[in-house]
Amino acid sequence: MTNITAILKKEFRSYFNSPIAYIFITFFLGISSWLFFRGFFLMNQAEMRGFFGLMPWIFLFFVPAVTMKLWAEEKKLGTVEILMTLPIRDYEVVIGKYLASYALLAVTVLLSLVLPLSVSLLGDPDGGTIVSGYIGLLLMGGAYLAIGLFASTLTENQIIAFIFGITACFVMLIIGEDIVLFNAPNWLFPIFSYLGLGAHYSSILRGVLDSRDIIYYLSVIGFFLTLSSVSVESRKWR
């Protein structure tokens, strides 16, 4: 546990030691609020649905940017050699790095709370859907991060890690969308609609916190973290 916290602290601090965290937070909040308010005044409705609807697509580009450096940079610099010869288990490093990226995402998402605050100044939005929306956001973001982290373990090039991450997240997102589902063979329909990242999110957005959705996100996170551990260990395969 102390090992995980040490890695977590180091990675989290390194986000703020470099411009990454500041640029990420600024642009994420800037772009998402601009896109949100653009439609907000046209609709003239005091609700956050537009914001939450945008998020799967904004996350698609922003989240892999957070995770791309986590392993790729270590491999490029060679620091992974010191890191992986410390008396730490591989999965502890994976979890530590994951939690650090999660902390950055959580900070960003919390900062976006100014949006519901300003909306509530202008009208009377439904508090329940906003709370469940944020819970959905944190769960879905966690899944994106796990996929991005796995993409980062595959390569030592950050740009490739970024593109892998976007592609993997995109595939996971799109298979649950109607356009794919209607064209998919019948026997794949239930599998795809269950696996899609977006479908569970939209059911949470409706204000229904179903344990199946929470379990879905937790298992996606667990699955990709396990894959990351395996990928990190693969250097030792005979």
């Binding site: 916290t5 602290k9 180091k10 610099l77 060679g78 620091t79 010191i82 008396p87 288990r89 250097r235």
Partner: protein, 346 residues
């Protein structure tokens, strides 16, 4: 001035004996498990079709500075990566500090301080911040962390740069931060991969002295492809080539076993045919060859059987025949020849 009085002397002796007995007893108990600090048996590792490490076996004791010498790509780094549990091997076994490298990897990593090639560090971290991170992931007790950081900063001469970011440091200082990092938990075994590469001559000497100091009490295994480095720092040398250990011994032993022969350069002024007939006749001369000299006098490179004092014998031959001697020089067979002999394949 008389030596210390006899009563004290006997006291000293008895304390010494008691101490010695205890220490050797404790050592015996340890030795059941830890006969060697590093024990490598028939280690083999290949990357696809290329065999990087081929059937390598060696041992190392505490208090040794072991030089791992070999041309680039000989398998030094791969061996070190296996010992530090970064990679695993295809076959063979290795144990470090009594723990199996493949089975008890966390214990092994605890007892090793490792500096990979070219000291990879986090460029955006401060020196102190980095060392502090290392004390955390090495799980040093909180109360000792400050003292350990202070100790390694002092040992590696980092006082001037502790406020800086690692990215701002010169190559030499980065190397020292890397060393500090590997020493932070006071490990019994240090594994250093080319610790002096890319440094300027005075920095090289500093790092070498540091290695020597560390080697007083720890086992240091360091790799290099620079020859003078090993004779300057090592108590034992392992020469590795094409993934195989080709020589293992102290610098003196290796220089001694170079070849079973002596080589003498001799330039004689006298009747050439007679000299050559004489050289053929001498039984300790195994072969000879003409050597060009500047002033037109014929010189010879005489290869003689070892242990015959060929230079002196040749001198007597010249004197007995009343020729005159213009040059007599014994070619020194040193580490460089050993290295070239063992590693260059025609």
């Amino acid at each position: 001035m008389p030596l210390s009085p006899p009563s004290n002397f006997f006291l000293d002796i008895s304390i010494f004996l008691w101490y010695y007995f205890n220490v050797s007893f404790i050592n015996c108990a340890w030795m059941v498990r830890k006969r060697f600090m590093i024990e490598v048996r028939e280690l083999t590792k290949s990357y696809g079709p290329t065999v990087a490490v081929n059937n390598v076996s060696f041992d190392a004791h505490a208090g040794e500075v072991l030089g791992f010498l070999g041309p680039n790509g000989a398998g030094k780094t791969t061996t070190m990566r296996i010992l530090t549990c970064y990679l695993s091997a295809d076959a063979g076994s290795a144990s470090v500090a009594g723990y199996d490298v493949f089975e008890e990897s966390v214990e092994v990593r605890k007892s090793i301080g490792y500096l990979p090639e070219s000291a990879p560090l986090y460029m955006d971290m401060g020196v102190i911040e980095y060392l502090n991170f290392m004390t955390q992931v090495r799980s040093l007790p909180k109360s000792e962390r400050r003292a350990r950081i202070r100790a390694v900063v002092e040992l590696c001469g980092l006082e001037d740069v502790i406020q800086k970011d690692i990215g701002e440091l010169s190559k030499g200082y980065r190397q020292r931060v890397g060393l500090a990092q590997s020493l932070i938990h006071d490990p019994p075994i240090m594994i250093l991969d080319e610790p002096t590469s890319g440094l300027d001559p005075s920095q090289i000497i500093e790092i070498r002295n540091l290695i020597k100091d560390i080697g007083q009490e720890k086992l240091v295994l360091f790799s290099t492809h620079i020859l003078p480095e090993v004779s300057a720092t090592c108590s034992r040398i392992l020469i590795i080539n094409d993934g195989k250990i080709v020589a293992n011994g102290t610098p003196e032993e290796l220089a001694g076993q170079a070849e079973g022969e002596e080589i003498v350069h001799i330039v004689i002024r006298g009747p050439q045919s007679e000299i050559e007939a004489k050289l053929d006749a001498l039984d300790f001369v195994s072969q000879w060859a003409h050597v060009e000299t500047d002033n037109g006098v014929v010189g010879y490179r005489v290869t003689a059987v070892q242990g015959t004092d060929a230079a002196e014998a040749l001198f007597h031959v010249v004197v007995d025949n009343r020729w005159s001697l213009t040059e007599l020089r014994q070619e020194s067979v040193d580490l460089e020849d050993v290295f070239l002999n063992l590693t260059v394949r025609e």
